[in-house]
Symmetry: D2
Subunit: 289 residues, 4 copies
């Protein structure tokens, strides 16, 4: 994770003194209109502020970005947590023919996974698998659409580890289910924009009980990052009202395999037992010769 | 979907008469040992049968495959439905270091999505979105790990359409929940290896009620294919005991966007209402300036 | 429901002017200490206020209660919504031997049902069954422990009616699931102490959409009563930290039978179909001769 | 539990030799037509068989029943597991006016609870609370309508004990969730007519792992009785297609209180913590002065 944890507005403030007069005009404009600038070209931004396009480009470089597109990308990331679903629908590019939709959406997911591979820190990934393996109990928390990721991760970890609990399940409230969490346990909080308030509250509660906190979220601007001991990020960008959970699910696949490789004997024995049960109780289709 | 719906054993039988003597030895061997051959090199197979490696290669071409690797791939697809989880664990390549796991698993998912893009037929995709939009009620059925895909699809379609039901939910049995299904409804059955028996039974029941059946599954060898009116396939390959649901989820993203583009006004109005509610009842984190 | 919908404090205020001087001392004391008075004998209350026990008894009669025990009972009902679970645990009588527990708890449930029979208004009960039968869609909402009643009612109504939805189910939020509710629908809100805030909010939202609101709750002091078009009450008293949902479940049994009697042909046909399915798919144990 | 575990047909066979000639005619008729006899008066039965009413009455006495009504009651119990829902609907008495329904149904529940109090053995009840308190992990299993009882019991035990799991929850299958069960654990199986096949299979599996088995079911003819170490029975009779779970829920209330009385300090501390959380996160309605 080479990205600084400074956000773009912090960065502008820190560098403000060394900026030229024209660059300061740009800085002021961005601070007050970052949500609009996130979707302006360099030339449009220059026009709005009354400076040349090349001043805009030099401004980006002065802040340490490798060009205006990178600065703009950062702005888009930054505002994402702040856009309502309606604003996102309005921003969503129109997909004019359906074949196009299929390709555009799925190719965006390919890009999301590729960027996630690049951005994931091997040390963090390894630490997370170790923490999960050593915990007395593993809690997995995800609300609203993130529930599906929590259930998917829980479904597989349940075959590998002795004590895994997907929260919430059943009718007890999230907090009721965390009442016994302690410092030997880990809680994996899964949260993507728009971040559920209750997930964050529950993680804060778990922190007061000194459980290890692992976050799975979309970016370094996520509120989960501030509270987690280790954070894995996976891109969830999608030009629609949907947050794509594809790259996060792929990261979770890697996590499951990472944990399972260290418990291969146990899993083999578990599945030998289950194959017999599944066979006896006729859960899956039989071989069809 | 250019792949023939013949399976590889059918294809061997159909072409048997025109094969050379040496090729027939290979054919016989495969028919009796396809599960082993799926993981043999051409040279190993030649050795087993007592023919040269180049005879094996010509055999593949004679059956219409563009080389031995393609034939072998087809065999692997074919046997997948027949492998138990324990067999898959034993076949799973060892991932020696953890950084490697991350990259290998996520790159496999990139490949799964790319192949899914190639293999999806635009006409089928368009037909499926039309059927969903025109149905009186949309049932979405997924059991075991496929539940997460059913819930994900249901979560978003619920914002777009009037009457969407993820089955099973609550405590009624799958069949109890399908008791009112009729010919104006559609049921989307999601099933990946190892195929749940109950999913197939429920789709068969829905067919007797003349509901439209849409299958989302992993290949043309899936039992879902035989019963569905339209089938979308997405690759779920993963060299582990886990079936990756990443490419299927990406396909479902495309489906959600495809359906939503035709109901954009309705969705915008729905989310305007929900934004107010979410805001009033404090469900998401507020903007953090 | 002959009980006035005035609460006891309202009643004291209304009658204040016609009270004697000594009675006014009692009135003032109760208004400021009703949570303590709820557990005082008449003689103890007299002592605290500095009046005779018989003044206390006459005070109860002056307010229209048939004696001090009835006034005290009313106070206990009133404060129940205000007691935390910890306070209730402290108040709970000790059950010294286990056989005793069984009898005491179950006899209390018998009393709860008997009082519920007495207090249920036949006209309200009949109106509720009619509204349920005539609704386009029936939503059933219950959170926390009331979820079990919502699911139980939903389980059976699902066999009788075409469109029944237990909320929440699946991963959408309560409000997401109510987005399409309208004036042709009914929502049955089930809420027992300590009343969930979200249940009340969701019913208020449904009211803005002009759906019919039916409340199933514990008393006329319940916040549900204020918002529902029709309210059925069932006693949930229990001298422990548990709220007994036994009398409410019995009332729900009556509701299910009431609705089913008007749709007997449909149910018979539904179950004929289901018996065949259950038999074919081996869901229940077979006859054991 | 003084009732013999012999069923009525066994009893007839055992006593056959000592019966008079006329009594043997009755015995033969019952063996072949028990489902009809269960709903015949003594005089009707005599007429069918060609004996006098008093012969029928003496027959009942000869088998050890305190009269014909008791024999008939036993037959009704016996066939209950064998009646389909459709047969029960046909047998159900018509409830002609709605006020009647309310009273009849709720009074039947009062009777169910009263009989359950009488029939519950104090020693069994005490043993069950002890086993639950001493178990490492408590699994609670209920399918279909019994799910609501499993969830209700789990909701409260979760506040008292460290490790309680309601099965199934989430997306793993029942068997997946029992994979780690062992001889230090207890599983509480809840099953009422018509008994779910899967519940019985899961309990049998748990028995092979030597977990303690507690059954909560409706009668001594229940298949659960044969496999459980301790069985608590509660009446679920209802003259409709619904099985009333009211008496079972009341018994579960007693069980919760029984367990909680031995852990009162722990519960008080748990709820003190939860009150703070509930208060902070605004889960319940605040006091309304």
């Amino acid at each position: 994770m080479k990205e600084s944890s400074l956000n773009i507005l912090n960065r502008i403030q820190l560098n403000y003194k060394k900026l030229s007069k024209g660059q300061r005009l740009i800085a002021d404009y961005i601070i007050n209109n970052y949500d609009k600038v996130a979707f302006m070209t360099a030339s449009k931004l220059g026009e709005k502020v009354g400076v040349s396009e090349s001043t805009v480009v030099r401004f980006a470089t002065a802040l340490g970005y490798g060009g205006y597109p990178k600065l703009q990308k950062e702005l888009q990331e930054f505002i994402k947590t702040k856009l309502t679903t309606v604003q996102r629908l309005e921003l969503s590019s129109d997909y004019n023919d359906e074949e196009d939709i299929l390709k555009k959406v799925m190719k965006a997911d390919v890009e999301n996974i590729k960027k996630t591979i690049e951005e994931t820190d091997a040390y963090v990934f390894q630490s997370v698998t170790d923490i999960i393996l050593e915990a007395k109990k593993v809690y997995i928390l995800g609300l609203r659409s993130s529930t599906v990721l929590a259930e998917y991760l829980g479904f597989y970890l349940n075959f590998i580890l002795d004590d895994v609990s997907v929260v919430p399940s059943g009718i007890n409230d999230v907090f009721d289910q965390l009442i016994n969490i302690d410092e030997k346990d880990v809680i994996i909080g899964i949260s993507f924009p728009r971040y559920s308030k209750k997930t964050l509250e529950a993680l804060k509660y778990a922190k007061t009980k000194r459980a290890a906190i692992i976050g799975i979220t979309d970016s370094n601007y996520s509120p989960i990052k501030e509270i987690a001991d280790f954070t894995l990020t996976a891109r969830s960008n999608m030009a629609s009202f949907v947050d794509s959970l594809v790259a996060p699910m792929s990261l979770i696949n890697a996590l499951i395999v990472g944990v399972s490789m260290k418990e291969k004997d146990k899993i083999t024995s578990t599945f030998k037992t289950l194959e017999n049960i599944w066979n006896e109780y006729d859960i899956y289709l039989k071989n069809r010769d």
